[in-house]
């Protein structure tokens, strides 16, 4: 193998599994250390610069970082990264004085943002401090988009959302609410320098089942129903509720039903339980509230008697997987199952809809009627029009929308300065030794088995009685500290300098997880078979040095490195050093 090029910022970035997995690449270990040091405001600001909505995300993020966490590979449960983010948000001081200053004198460029969801607000947050004049248009009465309309208050209190939305709206952004934009041509006619479309995936999918016409009053689309609850148009639901679908919207629907009078609330899903799209913790939360999940049930008919909804018929199926892992649901042949219902909520997916975008504006639409958008620049066929969030490539999540917003903001700034949007700024990185003494490091390098701490919940009877009462109480400071200490500090890198190495093997002998080998070089596949310990996780890189005096190379399997620093402590010549790698994505603010 060729020596690893550690000057490429992506090499060490990939070692920080959580940060690498995060769409916005938030420097996770950096803020977790600050939480452990009780520097909550500092931890919050690192988050705020990177992901814009730390308080919201600390409660609602899809947490792609957690399955990636190294702790999964060496212990079992990941660090509760998401809930630690909430600890920073809950315990911070008033941070308004630390927000970027907004120039009085504008730069003369005007930007329109359609939709006031997480993607648009991120664009506003990134561009307002640079002197851009920003107009936001949204059809809801306040900003936040789906964070306001679709996430129930028992998961995300309105106050938390308002605070973080207002940090941005207070940047001199000109927001127009309760307005439906029904023509992009009209917007473009207002001579904006750029237009960003962050209108989400606003249309819920429905199932056209027999009986639907007669039961229409009691069959609702999940996201529309959640919005009407959030905006207080709906405050009741029948006693018996069937929720169709296995995603997070279905979980929000069933839990909300339970709070609005639903007594016998059931989730019914076509797929096996394990294949459900909902995050495992959201399924757990629903079941904790006494909501059963019926899997392998395909809806067949809505049963109406005497003009009134009686219930639904389901066909039982089994999942079969072919050699490629492709699933087919095969009926078991049993009788159809009847379930009684007063109301049915369909939460089987949502899609984009752009009836308001004229098709002659230079924006190309593909066979699924989705706009063709560049995955790096977020620019559409019309160079002045950008897309982000769910509007760009279909439904994802908040953190992805934020990541899109950052990149679109960079593109808009480049466009307005007359530069090429393809020329992306490089990430800002820093690599610095953490050595303080012979055996002392700036970070807490001791690593011990320590199971994940549970987030305490409010009493079930109280939360079920109040739709707005937050279920999760969040970690207190002590538990937050303990959970923060579970972090392995993967951003503190093991940096190897071959010229200093005397090949004494001290690092090989001390490494608790047998990451290090000195061996003759070879091709990666073959080299992996000769290492000190099995190296079968191909998703994790091998760190390979240049040739040493004995013609061997140092090979380190990054897979289960604990970042404990013992290799560096036992190295007599300082060939190993623990260096903190800070990676800030190429944002306009960081």
């Amino acid at each position: 193998m060729k020596p690893t090029d550690t000057s490429n910022p992506e090499y060490f970035h990939k070692v920080v599994d959580c940060q690498y997995a995060c769409p916005a690449h938030t420097p996770v270990p950096e803020y977790i250390r600050l939480i452990a040091a009780q520097r909550y405001s500092d931890a919050y600001m690192i988050n705020w610069y990177s992901n814009v909505f730390p308080g919201v995300l600390g409660r609602t993020c899809d947490r792609p970082c957690e399955p990636a966490c190294r702790r999964v590979r060496v212990e079992s449960e990941p660090v509760a990264i998401c809930r630690l983010k909430r600890v920073a948000a809950d315990n911070k001081d008033d941070i308004r004085s630390r927000l970027p200053e907004i120039p009085q004198k504008k730069n003369g460029k005007r930007i329109a943002l359609i939709g006031a969801g997480p993607a648009s607000l991120t664009v506003a947050r990134d561009l307002a401090p640079l002197g851009y004049s920003i107009d936001i248009y949204d059809n809801q009465f306040a900003g936040g988009g789906m964070m306001r309309s679709q996430i129930p208050s028992f998961r995300l209190p309105i106050g938390v959302l308002d605070e973080e939305v207002n940090y941005i709206l207070d940047m001199g952004v000109n927001a127009t609410f309760d307005v439906q934009v029904d023509s992009l041509r009209d917007i473009l006619a207002k001579d904006y320098d750029a237009v960003f479309i962050g209108t989400g995936a606003p249309r819920g999918k429905g199932l056209n089942l027999p009986g639907l016409e007669d039961a229409r009053d009691h069959v609702h689309l999940g996201i529309d129903w959640l919005a009407s609850v959030a905006f207080e148009h709906t405050n009741r639901i029948g006693k018996r509720v069937l929720v169709l679908g296995g995603g997070n919207t279905a979980m929000d629907c069933c839990r909300t039903s339970k709070r609005l009078g639903g007594d016998d609330v059931r989730v019914v899903v076509r797929s096996p339980f394990e294949d459900m799209k909902a995050s495992p913790w959201e399924k757990e939360d629903a079941m904790h509230e006494g909501i059963p999940i019926y899997n392998n049930h395909v809806p067949r008919e809505i049963v109406v008697e005497g003009g009134a909804l009686k219930g639904m018929l389901f066909e039982k199926v089994e999942a079969h997987y072919d050699e490629d892992g492709k699933r087919s649901l095969v009926p078991t042949g049993e009788d159809l199952v009847f379930m009684e219902a007063d109301d049915v909520l369909m939460a089987i997916g949502q899609e984009n809809a752009f009836p308001w975008i004229e098709r002659d504006l230079g924006i190309e639409f593909d066979q699924w009627d989705m706009p063709v958008v560049d995955r790096v620049t977020f620019q559409s066929g019309n160079p002045r029009v950008f897309f982000g969030g769910d509007a760009a490539f279909g439904p994802e999540n908040i953190i992805t929308a934020v990541a899109h917003g950052h990149q679109a903001a960079i593109s808009i700034d480049l466009l307005c300065r007359g530069e090429s949007v393809a020329q992306r700024p490089a990430p800002r990185t820093n690599l610095a030794s953490q050595k303080m003494g012979v055996h002392e490091w700036t970070y807490d390098n001791a690593v011990a088995p320590d199971p994940r701490y549970l987030v305490p919940l409010a009493p079930l009877d109280k939360t079920l009685a109040d739709r707005k009462m937050e279920v999760e109480l969040g970690f207190d400071q002590d538990t937050g500290y303990k959970e923060a200490e579970r972090c392995l500090n993967c951003d503190v890198q093991t940096v190897f300098e071959e010229l200093r190495c005397i090949e004494c093997d001290a690092c090989v002998d001390i490494c608790p997880t047998d990451c290090i080998t000195f061996a003759a070089n070879g091709e990666e596949d073959e080299l992996r078979t000769r290492l000190s310990a099995p190296a079968g996780n191909l998703a994790q890189d091998l760190y390979v040095s240049d040739s040493l005096p004995t013609q061997r190379v140092m090979v380190k399997d990054e897979n289960v490195c604990l970042h404990c620093g013992l290799c560096a402590e036992r190295c007599p010549t300082g060939a190993w050093d623990m260096q903190k790698f800070l990676y800030n994505v190429n944002g306009t603010l960081a």
Binding site: V74, C504, I510, P512, T513, G536
Partner: protein, 350 residues
């Protein structure tokens, strides 16, 4: 500051026949200087014992005084241990081995503990062919007292202070051969591929097995002018051959070229394969071994590998015809057979 090794281990560590991973054979975190060769030897001992599937409680590790003699804390944390008096480890092992012949005795010593204060004990334990493994962690200096030249420092070799050693060196392997040792090997802490099979072979040998391991002292004796530095040993080591150790219970799967290897069946049924590189050396002939040692000494090279093995070794228990049952398991009725037996013995002498 790290006072402990993290408890996490690689999740796919291999287990031995007893179901243990290597972790069961590890010890506390080392407090020796970073880069000390001794730590590598500790690592090799851990791996050898794990791969041999020895139950940890069937091993006793004993040592004297010195950097080397601190190391038993850093390996085999689940085994019996005894830190004895300076240079007196062989006496303690002798006592222990006499009392309980069922344990595997691993003595760890240094060049000072062996070639200076312990020279007398070293000589006599070899003469008696006590069934033990005797590992010398040999760095040619007194590291614990700031690196003075030891009795194994080569003439002309200079440590950190810079003065060339004016005295001739004691060659422990040569001395052991002269004293009648039945297993003599030399190795290098930086060469685990050679060291681990040698430790395994020594553990399977019945009788006294010496492994003199050159183990650089990074703090005081890893200088360009030292003959016990990492660089010097790497450049000047010449192996007697390759040693491959096959434990008794393992099937022999590697194919060996006929004639190229000596196959030696050890006392416990394990098999040792020796691939000879050094033409002149016959490792089963004491005179040839002594000659090879002297030749290499004259050339300024370091002969490593298995130097001598007596296939017909008879250890102290055999020579003394002691009881098969360990002495510490004999109770009063065994040891004091009663008045009638005494009368019989007395009568037989009349």
């Amino acid at each position: 500051m790290s006072y402990q090794i993290p408890k996490f281990r690689h999740p796919e560590l291999p287990v031995n026949e007893l179901g243990y991973t290597r972790a069961a054979y590890e010890g506390a975190i080392s407090t020796l200087c970073a880069g000390c060769g001794h730590d590598s030897i500790s690592g090799a001992i851990v791996r050898a014992c794990h791969e041999l599937s020895i139950e940890p409680h069937k091993i006793a590790k004993l040592s004297g005084i010195g950097c080397s003699s601190k190391t038993p804390t850093y390996f085999l944390g689940n085994s019996h241990g005894f830190n004895s008096v300076h240079g007196r480890m062989p006496s303690v092992v002798t006592g222990a081995a006499m009392a309980n012949r069922e344990l595997l005795y691993l003595g760890v010593s240094g060049d000072g503990d062996t070639a200076s204060i312990g020279m007398g004990q070293f000589a006599h334990v070899i003469r008696r062919n006590l069934n033990m493994v005797y590992i010398v962690m040999n760095n040619g200096c007194y590291g614990l007292t700031k690196g003075q030249d030891s009795a194994t420092a080569d003439e002309g070799s200079a440590s950190k202070k810079g003065d060339a050693n004016p005295f001739s060196a004691i060659d422990l392997c040569g001395a052991a051969l002269q004293l009648g040792a039945t297993f003599v090997a030399r190795s290098f802490s930086g060469d685990k591929e050679q060291l681990i099979p040698l430790i395994k072979a020594a553990m399977s040998h019945r009788g006294f097995a010496l492994i003199d391991v050159i183990s650089p002292c990074v703090t005081f004796n890893n200088t360009p002018a030292s003959t016990k530095s990492y660089e010097f040993v790497r450049e000047h080591a010449e192996a007697t051959g390759t040693v491959d150790f096959v434990p008794m219970r393992k099937e022999i799967t590697t194919r060996y070229t006929a004639g190229a290897a000596h196959e030696v069946t050890m006392h416990d049924g394990s098999v040792l394969h020796l691939y000879k590189d050094a033409d002149k050396l016959d490792p089963f002939d004491r005179r040839s071994a002594m000659l090879a040692l002297m030749d290499h000494q004259n050339d300024g090279t370091v002969l490593t590998g298995l130097i001598y093995l007596d296939k017909d070794s008879r250890d102290l228990h055999e020579v003394l015809e002691t009881t098969q049952r360990p002495l510490n398991q004999l109770d009063e009725t065994d040891l004091c057979p009663g008045n009638r037996m005494l009368m019989n013995i007395n009568a037989s002498l009349r």
